[in-house]
Every structure is written in C-alpha cells, then in structure tokens.
Symmetry: C2
Subunit: 843 residues, 2 copies
C-alpha cells in the first residue's frame, strides 16, 4: 500500500481549513512525510535510511525521542529535508502533480513483478508461464489474453497496463490509523493458523499506520486488547471478518484500520496455515456447515499441508537455528534426532541396544539398507533428491538430509568434521536433522509429533478416498510397509521391488554364488536356497494386503553385478565360501563391470539370459500365494516383467511364468504347451487370481504398447527410467547440469520431480492409448517417483490413467492430489474467492 | 534332384524289352541302385556310407575297381544289398509304388525347409519372416497368402502342400547322362563369376550323372573339352545358355545333361559372383545393350558386391586357412598385412620408419587414435561390431578384426599368445587380418588390390549417383577423409566430429587445462590456444569439400572427463604442466567420474554449462569459413548442436552461435540483440552460407521436433544414440544380451546394425513429420552408423528422408542402396527372372 495524492498546495489548503489545529497539522505533515518517503522508496528506489537519518537529525535537534513529540514546525523541517533528499537521489524535484504520482506508482508496482526478489520467489514456488509466454499453460495464456483485451480504465490520462496476468493495482481513498487516539491499525487471522482453532488471532497498533509495524518503531498489542479498549469496535470487527470468512469460505488473513472510531477493512486474503491447522480448519468448516466435503478437499488442504501433518517436525524451528551446523538437500520430510552411527553395522548394533540412531554416511549404497532401516533418519554428505539415500528414505517415510557438502565423514576415525568450522561430531553424539528444511543441528531438539492417528485427519482422508477417481496404491517391499500403506488407504501394492530382499546378509551369499556360477545346475542350486526366503517375503505381503487390492511384484531389475562384492575383503570372503581363488572372484567382478549400467544387462534381459532366476521368483510368488489363499485370505498376485522393449521379451517371460504357475497350482510338471488361460484357471481353483503384466519404462515399449498388450494384462509405467531414457539423463549424473538448466530456465522443472508433460507424459499417453486399443480396459498406472508428486498426479489424472503407486507415506498425499484432480475435472475451483488461481501447473 | 519312378516290375519290363543288351541292363540297374540310395538319403535320412560299403563289398568280390566294370549281375547283387540296408534302416521295404515314392519325396523336400542346415543358412543371411508368421514383412505375408490360395494341382492323389513361400518342387521326366558314351552332365556360368569376363565357365563329366561330381568318384573336365569332342553340341549349349542369359537378363548358373547326343537343360538360375565381377558384368551388359542402366543398378550389383569391390582382399582365402591363428568379428571389411605393434606409440613410431603396421590391442580407446591412423589395420581381443576400434576403422575404411577372444595380449611382454595353442606373436612379427571374414593369419599373405579407380566402377557409380533420390554425404573428421568422400560422390560432409581433433598430443593438454580450470578466465585462455588449431582443421575440410555440398560440424559431444588422464603418470605430468599437485588432478578426475557417461554431462549440456566452449568452436568454424570464402571457394557451414532434448537448449546455443557469427563477419563486438537473420546476412556478405541445426538423438527431441524446428534449419538424426535410448541399450554393454536375443529370435536383427523399424524409425518419422510441419522443407538426414547400412537406407528412403551420411568408404554402398530404393519405389524389381525375391527385408 502506498499513500498518494498530497502535494504542497493540498497540504497548505488542509492546514488553512483547520487553522491552528495542531493535531490536524501534525497529522497532515506526518502523512506528507510518509508519502514522500514511501514514494521515493517504491517508485525511485531511494534508500529509506537516508530519510530515517534526516528524521533522526530533526528529532535530535528538537530533543524529541519519538515521532509524536515533534511539533508541526519540526515536521515541516522534516518535509523540506525529505524533499532535498528526494531531489538529490532521484534527480528531479518531488512531483507535485497527483496524477503523475499515481501513474508512476502504478507503473512501479507493475514493474516490481520482475524485480529479483519477485523472480526468486516465483522460482522457489515454481510459478512459471504467467507472462503470456509461449510456454505458459493454456489456461494462463487464456487469462493473459483476457487481461490484454480489457478496455482501458476510463481515466483522464492513459494509465500503465499490467505487463502480465500476475499482478494488479487497486486505487482507493485513504484512511488514517494515525488520525488520533481513537485510530489504529491491525492484522488478524480469522482462525489460529498454527493449530486451526476457531479464535481470532492477530495484532493491533493504536494511533499508527501499518508501516509502523514493519519499521519496528512500535510494538503491536494482541488483538484482545482492542476488545478491552472498545468492545463495540471489536464486535464490529469480529462480525466483519467472520462475514468475510463466510463469503470466501476460507480462513481470512485481514488488514484493517480504524480512523477516529470507524472501522475500515483494507485487505483480506485466504490465510496461510500449517498442515495440522489446515486439516482442523477443513473438518471444522464442514462440521459448521460452511463448506461441503468436496469443497474442503478441493481447496482447504493442499498436498503440502497433508505431508506436513503426517511427519514429525521440530517444535520450534526458529530457536533451533542456534544449533545449526550444516545444510543439505531436504530429501525426505520430517525431523528426527538420534545418536550418530557411521556404518550400517554400527547403526544396526546401536538400534539393537535400543538407542535412537541417525545413520551418517558419505553416501549410501544398497548394502546400507539394513542400517538405514534401523536408523531414525539418514544424513549424507553427497547426493541429492534422487540419491539412493533420498529415494529409500522417502519410500520408508524416514527423514533424510542428503548432500550436506560441508560434512567431512571419516569412518575410520569415527568423526564427521564440519568443513571450515571447529565442529566435530563423534560416533554416538546426538544430532537432529530436519528433512523438510535440509538442516542439521547439534544435539537432540524437541519435536512435535504428528497427529496422524487423530480423528480429524482420519475423517478428512475418508472424504479424500471417497472422492478420487484414480486408484492409489503403494510401493512396498516389506509386510510392515504394505500394512502401513493399507492403513493409509492404499488399494493394494503397485510395486514390490524384489531385489531389496537379496541384500540381507543370509541371502547375498547365495545370490552371489548364483551370479558367479558358470553352470546352469549350480545357478539352480543357489537359487533353490533363495526361493523359500523370497516365498516367505511375498507371503507376508500378501497377508498384509489381503482384500485391499492386488500385489504387483516386479521381477529382478538391477544388473547382477550390483550384488557382487566390491571390496577386496568381501571378495576374499566370498571366494573362501565358494572354495575358489579370490583372483577368480575379482576377475568375474571385473568382467561384469559395465560402462553404463543403467542401460546395461538388467531387467528382463537378466530374466531371459538366466531364465532360472525368473522361474525361481515366479515359483516363490505362486507358492506364497497358494499358501495364503489356503487360509482363506484373498490374493491377487500380479507378476510384472521389467524393462521390456520388444514384445518377444514379454512373451518369453510370460511363458515361463505361466508354466511355473501351472506347475505350482496343478501340483506337477507342466506341459510345454501351457497356456496363460489354463494356468490362470488352475490358480483360480486354488483361490489365487494372477495376472502377468509389464513395466512401461523404455521409450520403445510406449511405441510397441499395442503389441505388448496382446500379452500384458496391465501396464505399470516406470516413470523414473522412462524419464532417464526419454531425456537421456542419468539420474546419478544429471545433478550438475539439471540444476544449471533450472537456474537458466532451460528446464521449467526437474523432470524427475514433476513429470515432463510434453515428452515423457506424451509417451505415456501413447502407451495407454495403444495398449487400450489392443486390450480394452487394460489397467495403466504409474509406479515411479512421480506417482507421489501432486503436480504429476494431476497430469496422470487428466490422461485418464487408472492408478498411481507411491511410497506408503505419500499415499495420503497422492490420494488428496487425485481427489483434487477429480474435483478439478468436475469444475471445482481448487482455490476460490479471490479470482482464478491456476492450481495444477504451479504447485 | 532326385530320380524316382523305378521299381522291381518296371526294371524287369525294361530288361525284357531289350533282352541280352548288357548296356541297357547295366544302365537300368545303375539307375535303380542310385534311386534307392538317394531316396533313402533324402526321404528317410539313411546314412549314405552304409550303401557305399555294400557297393565296395560287391566291387571287391567281383575284382572291379570302378563302377563301370561291374557286370549286370553284380549290379543286381548291389540292388538286393541296398534293399536290405533300406529295410533295416527305414523299418519297411523299399516302396514299390511310384506314387508313394513321389509324394514322400515331395514331402521330404518341403520338410527340408526346416532342417537345421537350412535354418542356420537363413539366420546367417538374415532371411526372416517367410513362413507367413505374424512378424513377416507385408509383402512376404501377401505372398504366403497367395501360395495358400492356389488351387491344388490336378493329381491322382492329394499331394503335400508347401509349408511356406520359401520352397517349391518341380516334377519332370528324367534324362540320363550315364546312358552311354554320347551322354554326360555339366554345370556352367555364362560369364566368369570371378572376373566377370564374357566366357563360358564350367565343367563337364562324360557318361555320368550329376551326383558323381558330388561323390568325388570322378574328376570333371573343363567345359572346353566338350567343344573339342562335339563342336555341334557345344554350339547348341552355348546358344541355349546365352539365350537363357538374354531371357533372364543376368548371368546364368546352369546345369545340363546330354543323353545320347541330345542336350537337355536341367536348371538355370542367376549366378553368384564376386564384387569386381558384378561390376564388370553390369557395365558389359549395359554396353551390349542387354539391360538399361537402371536395370543394371537395380539388380546386377548388390551393396555387398560394391563393398567387396572397394576393399583389398586375400588373393586366395582357401589357401590362407593353413596360417589361420584366430578368429574374431569381421568388424571392418578388407584385408591387411603388417608388423605387429602393441601400443599406439609403437605403431606410430614403426609407421614413421616406413613399416607396414597392424595395431594389436586388448581394446582401443580414443587415446589410440594416432596409432590406429598410422596402422594398416586394427586387431582387438575384446569388443564387437560397435566397439571403438570397429567404428573408427570402418569410418576410415581400414580393415578391422575385433574381439578375437583367444588372443592374450601382454603389452609389457610385447606378446600376444593364442590361448590354448603354442602360438606366440611378438612385436614386429608379420600377421595378416581379413576384416571381411574376421580371420587372423600368421605371416604376410598375398593380396588382390581393389580396382577402385577402374573405369567400370567409375561408370557404374555415375549411374548410381544419377538415379538415387536421397542425397549421400560422408562423416569425415579430416581434410583427407573429406576429399576421399567427395571423390566417391559424397554431396558434402554430414558429420564432422570435432572431439577427435582434441586428442592430438599438442592439443590434449590445453583441453585438459580448460576442463580443470575453475575460473571462467582460465577456461577462456586455454580455449584460446585451441581455437586457431580447430580453425585450421575446419579450413582444410571446407577447402576439400568446396562446392560439393554443405559441411555439418557437430559441436563437442563427449563428456569432458573422457579427455582427462586416467593413469597416474599422465596425471602427474598434467599436474606438473599446470603447476598444481597430482592429488588435485586426481581428485578432479574422480569428481567428474560418472555412473552412466552415455547419459551424463555431455553434448549441448557441456555447451550450456560452459558456453566458452561453444563460443570457441563457433569462432573457429566461422573464422575458417571466412578465410576459405575469401579465396573464392564456396562454403556452406552447418553448425550442429548435439544431444538436444528441449527447445530451450537449442535456442541457447543458437543464440551464442549467431552472436559469434556476427562478431566474426561484422568484425566487431556483436550486440546482445543479434538475430539469426542478421548474422546470416553478415556471413553472406563474406561469401559464407551458414545454418544452425540440431542432432535428433534423444527420444524427447523426436517428440519436441515441432518446437525444435522453429530454431533448427536442419535435423540430423544420430541413430546410434537414438537406438541406445529408445531401447535402453548401452552399446558398450549390450553385446552379451543382444547376441543372446538374436540367437533366441527375440530380436530379428541387431538394432545397431539395421535400424529398428517399429521403434527407432517410428520416432525418426515422427521427428521428420513434426519438423516439416513447423518448417516446411527442413532437410532431415541420418548421420549414425545406419546411414551406411543398405537395409536401413531402404527404410530411410521409404520414410522420405533427405539424406544419409556415412563413412567415406561406405558412400558408394549407401549411394547404391539409395539408388536401388529409388528404383524399388519406381516398381523396379531388384532381382527378377526367378520369381519375386523380397530384397529389402533380407539383405
């Protein structure tokens, strides 16, 4: 807000209208002074400190300690001094033409859209494409056109026009909180933005203007003091803001001024709030009959709110900054405190003794899985949002700070030194990490627990699940994860990654023997050891999911060399175990090394060159399914073949799977001519429903989706790998250039965070279309990281996909996004009351 | 051929018709004997040796040394013995019903289509999809339908029907070359299949049947002896086969029999021939007025013929096998002999002393470029068709055998041991490699030089170039390569890989300094050293190409870490040179290491994060172009941005390029607002035409081709990388599973050899279509390895692409393929005379 419209002549005429009235004089002068100062700041960018210095000088000369002690003549001096400052700094006298003041101020506000602070704000909040540029989303472009087509305002002179759809200027008459002691100004929320409680929450400043709060020259008072001083005004205020709340149907964040006992509302907008507050406000407003459930889901709780409501957080983040020692990427939300362990073994050992542990590593690898699981949270010195630590931690809902670059981890010394400081963290020391901010603190800081089980959250989630069109499933590798996902409302498990199961110590050796075996028989023998272990994994998951939906199990995906020992010690140990020379193990590991493992010998390529692996996994799946079904638990087992590019790959693997199914369910050797329908019938007789499907994660699979659907009974889009291959970006290596691309605006967003609409999503749409043409009704879903990203969920909903699958802790977030997408498609505005805001493309 | 229709009763009736005539008796018995034996072999698979043993036994008992010495009664004994063998082995008596003999024989011939030898033959020759299977090409499927719809032959009994479109059976009356001394049998080519000379070329056997040649019991005589013995018959034969040649308009490979002085033609087919013979025959037949030039190009010379005609070859490959020591992949055609060098340095040093050198390496890397260039050929122990050695050797037309797995190369000992043998090849020993067969020989074997410059080849290529629709350009990195390509008819250079230029010793250090420089200024200083060197490279290429066409220069493509020193010695040396610690170099090398370099920080990602590199390269290009144009040489410089996936990347790089162009051509600092049109106009004023375009090699670029074409003035498809990303196959790692996929029939062909029609080519078609919609007439070509593959060239021609670009030595081959594709589109049959043969999908 900017006061305008005073000049020397108007000031003199106002003084002349109330001759000798010192209150009026002081008030007029004070406003003129403020006007010059703010105009200089906003329109001309003059440093405010120059004006403050003049004011101090006059106050000193007059012996006044506060502004109100200055006489009108002192103030006249101040105005003269201000005008001199203005002329010196701006290169012209302070403009006396009120119209010039107005138009220049309007132009300055429009121009502020592109100042560096505003640009940075939009970057942080991923607000793009508002400028009517070619890359703007269609609705933003339509809005920009609409604005451009508005007839000019009927003003005396041509007024500057908005440069974009992002900013506007209101011109109105001024009211004065500094008019007298019956005046003042305040801000308030209609409900508590921290807890959501239904109470006025705000501050008030007597005989002052709003900028006095900003300048810190006066301390505001709680809004309740206004009630004591003037119950009438307080009642009027309460009635007004509640009326605003009823009108906009959302918590209001209001500014108001009282001029000589008359209340004026200056501004109102929907109030920002914490996650728990958002859920409470939504359920309260539905209970009060103010909004419908649909309305509450559509616009009172954002996915970020829900995410925040589901994770532990620091009780007082501001106070915590005193203990801040490092900062990294906020890789998995929530806060955790624990004692430092530097190896996975230490972490497991300490957790075994009942200690809270944080695992601190240079970076993590699949061998650290045990320690990560034992820890309360993970902190790494290297890596980003898509590092191993980040991906695994998010999938478990564990806090993670990744890539805290100033940490120098020395495992052998058992220390982490903070580079450039004298801080040394030792094994067993307490630290706290905040995976929502990326901050690392010394010591154990107090936490606020999530009220995940609370009735409000539960009720809200029920509405969410009832509204959404798309199904939501979870990616889960353990019975515990699967059970948690079902609690959160997941309709089955969309992705079980079987490879994580092979890293456990009692299994990795058999796995390695299988990999290094040169003879088929040796491979089969090693696999036979693994089969019952895999079967019991699957059994647990089938039981945990039960009637909630299907369980989609992906066959082995990573290249085999990922399972081989890399250090000399591990290689010697394996050699001893296998009765061969270390040199042979080393040579085998060398021979399997790949230049580009991401596009190497992995996925179904392994299942085809080593069919015994597929047979073992299929047998484990069907054995487990049969056992669970025998107890009367419903089982839908979906076997998913990864990294398929040509239809013959899928046919090859599907034939193996069907044959194994026939063997397991008909209880004997299956004929080579086993058909899928025959095997399915045999399974059904044992109470097991099973399907064979494929990942869609190689661009060629999207092109060949029609032929794939002749075999596949479902498509699950692996959007991570599909993004890697569509862009040609290795997730492990893309960090440096993707961050530079984002900074330069070459990419509008990280395609691993938000699905790329023009490229990757277009390929997914092609896959869905061709697949459905060949097999009407084939379910198509997404099980990559994008499945838990609200913006991507909107894209998938618009494309008509059947489901998304994400980590258990993201299930509520994905469900809310899916519900909001459903409501958007039903023409609900996701935010309403203050004009159209384009939700989907920005958040 | 199989004689049928004799049985005991017919034999007896024939004997009764000529009582006491021993000649007739011997002839009848001999034919019956042969019939039983061949029927047993072909229809029942009985081992021929069993019959030979019986024959030997009777001959021994009769004291006869040759068959003709046997009396009719001896022969009757032979027949009885043969019948016993038949009954014992086949489990039933020899069939006396001539109709049974006929139908069983017909069925056996049809069944032979699927015997293992035939299957393997079709695999080797990539003959697929003939069986009316779903993956057959449309024309093959139509043909299979056509065959299936033919009415059955009007025979007494139902006859077996052909199982496929690939085989047929003719039934005809028998004639007998073993009738008497006025009888005989022979084979001939109507022209010499080795040289192409117009002379009968064949062999003749007096008083014999064809199988006597096969059994080796008699030595055939040159066809000229028939002329001496019977000028009349020879003249009739000559007249007949030349009439067949005129009818089929191709060299004929004929079989004939003379029965009692009467000539019968048994079979004729187009004759196989060597590459040089094919060219000679084609040009002769055009000169003789037998065929048109179009006909000659369409069906008398295949791409393989032309390739063979262009490379040196072993004079006598069969004799050479005595010296064979190893075998690998036939990675780059042609033969070469030289002394063994085990390092690039040795190779260069030896070549410097005027020696012929073969470089023998475990595998090659970009640092070996100098030694590979100095060598006559390259032999590696590891790698395949797409290894570094193979790709580079092919691009230079140098012979290469890759992945000779039995070689154990020990550089420090200076030996290559042939595993499992006592053969040791030492530094300086002579060896010979045949890159067309993959064979490695000890010693220096005699060579037959290509007649590349001969008038016939030149004339033929002129017709080829005149006919083809698609342009053919060359991939060339040096002025010499560019000049050779233009000689071969290349219409410009479609790909200059600038990175190869940085590996030369005097340049690599500056390159490394640039890479390791942390400050922009240091980078610019190091680049300033490289700029004049690059400019002189480009200058040479522009001069060599001149008016032949545009020169398309790709900006730096590989990741920067490929240029960094990997050994400790190299790292120390660089550290000394840069005045920093070795440790710092090592740390920097480590920090730049990538998990998946193929999809890492490379291509335009480097040009964007280090714009100084793009500026340097653009300046070198334009400086060179300006200098060459100043001498009156026409210059078309095309600057190509690699690895573009999003339009903003291309816009960013194009703006830099245009700015540099403006600086170079307007001779001063360019305004930031330089437009492409402005810069182009400035260049034109200096006589230089320049364009900015993009590689299409990332799947996303195909999807975004419309937006890319707003900036790009040409598209060059990098089909290698596009294949890698579309399939998700790393070329460096795909060997093991792709070879297994081919063996199992999961892939019909190696997609790096023949472009994948359903996947990769569909994406290319999408790019072309969207690009042309946005910028009508935008040239779209292919510069990957597929540009030189005949089968892929046909695919690209059908898609309507504008050009292909391949290595200089493949230019004639690609040109011929393009011409044949043009003629195919004009409804020329590429082979004709013996029914439709489906050219494009098989070769």
């Amino acid at each position: 807000m900017l006061n305008l419209g005073l000049n020397d002549a108007i000031v003199e005429s106002m003084l002349a209208a109330a001759p000798g009235d010192e209150v009026v004089a002081r008030w007029v002068f004070d406003n003129y002074r403020r006007l010059i100062q703010m105009y200089a700041d906003v329109v001309r960018g003059v440093d405010l400190a120059l004006f403050e210095a003049e004011l101090s000088r006059v106050k000193e000369a007059a012996g006044a300690s506060t502004d109100v002690e200055l006489s009108p003549s002192n103030l006249r001096d101040v105005i003269s001094a201000y005008k001199r400052v203005f002329e010196r700094e701006a290169g012209e006298p302070f403009p006396q033409d009120p119209w010039k003041q107005l138009y220049e101020a309007v132009a300055a506000v429009f121009a502020s859209w592109n100042n560096s602070r505003a640009v940075r704000y939009r970057q942080i909040n991923e607000i793009t494409g508002l400028l009517g540029e070619p890359d703007a989303p269609p609705r933003a472009r339509r809005w920009a056109r609409h604005v451009a087509q508005q007839p000019p305002a009927p003003l005396a002179r041509p007024c500057p026009r908005p440069p974009c759809a992002g900013t506007a200027v209101n011109v109105m008459a001024m009211v004065y909180g500094n008019r007298d002691d019956e005046s003042g100004t305040g801000v308030l929320f209609t409900r508590n933005p921290s807890t959501g409680e239904d109470e006025l929450f705000g501050e008030y400043l007597f005989n002052a203007q709003g900028e006095d709060v900003v300048s810190g020259s006066r301390s505001p008072r709680p809004i309740a003091e206004l009630e004591e001083r003037s119950p009438r005004l307080y009642a009027e205020l309460l009635g007004t803001v509640k009326r605003l709340e009823r009108h906009f149907l959302d918590v209001q964040d209001c500014e108001f001024t009282i001029e000589s006992g008359v209340l004026y509302m200056l501004q109102t907008r929907n109030g920002k709030r914490t996650g728990p507050a958002a859920v409470r406000i939504a359920t309260d407003m539905v209970a009060e009959g103010l909004v419908t459930k649909e309305d509450a889901v559509a616009r009172l709780v954002t996915p970020k709110h829900l995410d925040q409501a589901l994770h532990a957080r620091l009780r007082d983040p501001d106070a915590a900054d005193a203990d801040l020692i490092a900062k990294g990427t906020a890789a998995s939300p929530g806060a955790a405190a624990g004692r430092v362990a530097f190896t996975a073994g230490e972490a497991e050992e300490m957790a075994g003794r009942g200690l809270d542990v944080l695992l601190v590593r240079e970076e993590t690898s699949p061998e650290d899985i045990g320690g990560m699981h034992a820890a309360k949270g993970v902190l790494t010195a290297r890596g980003g949002m898509t590092s191993h630590a980040a991906v695994v931690a998010r999938s478990w809902g564990k806090p993670c700070v990744a890539g805290a670059g100033s940490l120098r981890v020395d495992v052998s010394a058992g220390t982490a030194v903070v580079h450039g400081t004298s801080t040394v963290v030792r094994r067993g020391d307490w630290i706290t990490i905040d995976g929502s901010s990326g901050k690392v603190y010394l010591g154990s800081l107090p936490m606020a627990d999530p009220d995940a089980g609370s009735g409000e959250l539960g009720a809200f989630l029920e509405w969410v699940h009832a509204i959404r069109r798309m199904k939501v499933k979870a990616n889960a590798d353990t019975p515990e994860d699967a059970a948690r996902a079902v609690q959160f409302g997941a309709q089955g498990v969309g992705l079980v990654r079987t490879e994580h199961m092979f890293f456990q110590p009692e299994r990795i050796t058999a796995m390695r023997r299988m990999i290094l075996a040169s003879e088929h028989d040796e491979q089969v023998a090693a696999l036979a050891e693994l089969e019952p272990l895999q079967a019991s994994d699957f059994e647990g998951i089938f039981r945990a999911v039960g009637a909630a939906g299907p369980v989609t199990i992906r066959l082995l995906d990573p290249p085999l060399h990922e399972f081989l020992p890399q250090t000399k010690e591990q290689q010697s140990s394996l050699a001893r175990h296998m009765g061969i020379r270390t040199e042979e193990v080393r040579a085998a590991v060398e021979a399997m090394r790949e230049a580009n493992p991401m596009t190497g010998h992995r996925g179904c390529r392994v299942g085809i060159t080593r069919p015994a692996v597929t047979r073992m996994q299929a047998r484990a799946i069907f054995t487990a399914a049969k056992r669970v079904a025998a107890d009367g638990v419903p089982v839908q087992a979906e076997v998913m073949v990864p990294l398929v590019g040509v239809p013959a790959e899928l046919k090859h693997q599907a034939a193996l799977i069907d044959q194994v199914a026939m063997e397991v369910f008909s209880g004997g050797a299956a004929a080579a001519a086993t058909t899928h329908d025959g095997a399915v019938a045999a399974a059904l007789a044992s109470g097991v429903v099973y399907r064979v499907g494929t990942m869609i994660e190689v661009p060629r699979a999207c092109l060949a989706a029609g032929a794939l659907a002749e075999t596949a009974e479902f498509f699950s889009v692996g959007s991570n790998d599909l993004t890697q291959l569509t862009f040609g970006y290795s997730r492990d290596d893309a960090g440096p250039f993707v961050s530079e691309y984002l900074a330069r605006g070459i990419l509008p967003a990280d395609p691993f965070v938000h699905v790329d609409e023009e490229g990757v999503a277009a390929l997914i749409a092609m896959a869905a279309e061709r697949g459905r043409a060949a097999r009407p009704g084939i379910p198509v879903g997404v099980c990559g990281e994008h499945g838990g990203d609200p913006q991507s969920v909107h894209v998938f909903d618009r494309m008509g996909l059947d489901y998304v699958s994400c980590s258990p802790f993201r299930v509520p977030v994905a469900a809310l996004s899916a519900a909001q997408a459903t409501l958007l498609a039903r023409k609900y505005r996701l935010y309403r009351g203050c004009g159209p805001i384009f939700f989907a493309p920005f958040k």
